[in-house]
Symmetry: C2
Subunit: 206 residues, 2 copies
């Protein structure tokens, strides 16, 4: 149980399912939702800003934070380290804001292990055949990298049952997926286990 | 597990919490949501129509249906029998429509026992002190009846933890409660246990 009234939402799923755009749209529309920024040792790409897209760290600083248990989960990809800073999440929920993360599938399960109340949402594209097109359209990776990510995508599907929700992001119907996610974020606040016994007692006696 | 792709939603809670108006608003706004009409042996009140507000049955006919297991749950109130016809619910979900019921709290738990996938939502007024005012404003019951119902209201709160959601219907902020309920009805469709293994398999292999 995380301290504070904010909730933690995790959006994960195969690469290229459109998670980035969906999460951006949610953060834009929901005033009390913050995006959890990852830390990474990789070089910034063109247009990426420190503290906005990532916290860009030296490997030394990354490892110091890892040793100090300041990172919730970490992963290595393409020779670089990525991780989720704990303090940003805990500060946000303590202040009553919700936080949304979009780690890899393994990272999502690590977040759930740390915060049992976190809500895990798996997003898939309508057809895996579209996934390849989306990755190609990004043009930031080589064909070999894309092939590698597609394989991971199929393997990730075996984790689906460990998630709380599954949302399909259909091509040309992204607005629907955003609204599905908004409903999930809204509804989760009213689940009975979110209420303390005290708050139910208060309703009874008032 | 109920057959068919529609979901069963149960809205319950203390009398006078405003459930009737909330459920009416939901049915009006959500095109694939049907209201489950109760059967009763009581006389129609002014303005009540058979097959719309209730199925008005003779006691003989009610008991015949009860014996034939055509009623999902029954209750006695003010010397009259009330019950939930099974066939209407099962026909609706088989056709892909969602169904919403608003039984007493005991009835809600009986629905859950019959359909384990049903979603139970407890609605309370913001303060129990308002409950008395709302019941008085209805002017369809005597003061003794109101006092009796208030007592039931307090007792019902002990069932809260058996529900899936708790929504507070604040005075003069009913639109918020309607939107909370809409989000719950929308989000429930995406919960992971709603997906069959086949449908997940299909996403994987497509």
């Amino acid at each position: 149980m995380i301290a504070g009234p904010g909730l933690v939402f995790v959006v994960s799923g195969p690469s290229g399912a459109g998670k980035d755009t969906l999460v951006e749209a949610l953060v834009e529309r929901m005033p009390r939702l913050r995006y959890s920024i990852s830390a990474t040792t990789r070089e910034p790409r063109a247009g990426e800003r420190d503290g906005e897209h990532y916290f860009f760290l030296t490997r030394e600083e990354f490892e110091r934070r890892l040793a100090a248990r300041e990172l919730l989960e970490t992963r290595e990809y393409g020779g670089n380290l990525y991780g989720t800073p704990r303090d940003y999440i805990e500060r946000s929920v303590a202040e009553g804001d919700d936080v949304i993360l979009k780690p890899e599938v393994n990272g999502a399960l690590a977040v759930k292990a740390a915060y049992s109340d976190a809500v895990l949402i798996f997003v898939v594209p309508d057809r895996f055949s579209h996934l390849r097109e989306r990755l190609l359209a990004r043009r930031t990776e080589t064909n070999e990298e894309i092939a590698g990510r597609l394989e991971i995508g199929h393997r990730e599907m075996t984790f689906v049952r460990k998630f709380d929700y599954l949302v399909v992001n259909e091509q040309n119907r992204q607005e629907e997926a955003v609204r599905d996610l908004q409903a999930i974020l809204h509804a989760e606040r009213f689940r009975i286990h979110r209420y303390t016994d005290d708050s139910i007692e208060k309703v009874q006696s008032s």
